[in-house]
């Protein structure tokens, strides 16, 4: 079975700081990778996804993530955060080779951006 680790549980940044949130997964085969965001009081929204091809993927709101296969990582980045980026961020995977479409989520990272 696959698992996902998000090592940063709570991150506090000032506006304009750069952001990198870590995500590592454990699975022997190939996976689809996702980042979701949950703004306060709102439901989960898809930020970006990686299925194949260019390992650097760009998502909404200036976010990007890089898939590094050798490190089993899919870290989320943003060069300059805004107060409105305050939210909880979840990394998720599902395996390509089993037909299982459900997602396995990491524990989430709470990002707090201070004005």
């Amino acid at each position: 079975a696959q698992s996902v680790s998000q090592h940063n549980h709570h991150v506090i940044l000032s506006e304009a700081a750069s952001l990198e949130l870590g995500c590592n997964y454990s699975y022997g085969g190939t996976v689809n990778l996702f980042w979701y965001v949950q703004y306060p009081g709102q439901h989960l929204q898809l930020l970006l996804k990686y299925f194949s091809g260019d390992p650097l993927v760009k998502g909404i709101k200036g976010f990007e993530a890089e898939f590094i296969k050798s490190k089993f990582s899919f870290n989320l980045r943003k060069p300059s955060v805004q107060w409105s980026d305050t939210a909880e961020y979840f990394c998720a995977v599902n395996p390509k080779d089993t037909g299982r479409r459900a997602l396995t989520f990491g524990s989430g990272t709470r990002l707090q951006v201070q004005p």
């Binding site: 439901h43 996804k49 299925f51 998720a92 599902n94 459900a102 997602l103 396995t104």
Partner: protein, 113 residues
Amino acid sequence: SAVISQKPSRDICQRGTSLTIQCQVDSQVTMMFWYRQQPGQSLTLIATANQGSEATYESGFVIDKFPISRPNLTFSTLTVSNMSPEDSSIYLCSVATATDTQYFGPGTRLTVL
């Protein structure tokens, strides 16, 4: 993308009662899922709702406690039966599109007293 609605958005229930949560999608989808998000925690898959057959439950979740229906390709229900305070959670419906992307509903916030 897919637009998903859930009813109710929140409820407060008494111990021992049951609550049925509805999930409606604006287009036909093959895969629908039910997740639980306990306070301050991540999402855990409860089951895959299969159209025309019994749901597929994850380890730790059983049909008697969480019966699921999926009468067609746009609708599913999850019932939380014989509730206890430990069932207080946000219950989320999600769908997987043909492009393998999952979209989530707004969730149902359940409080059991």
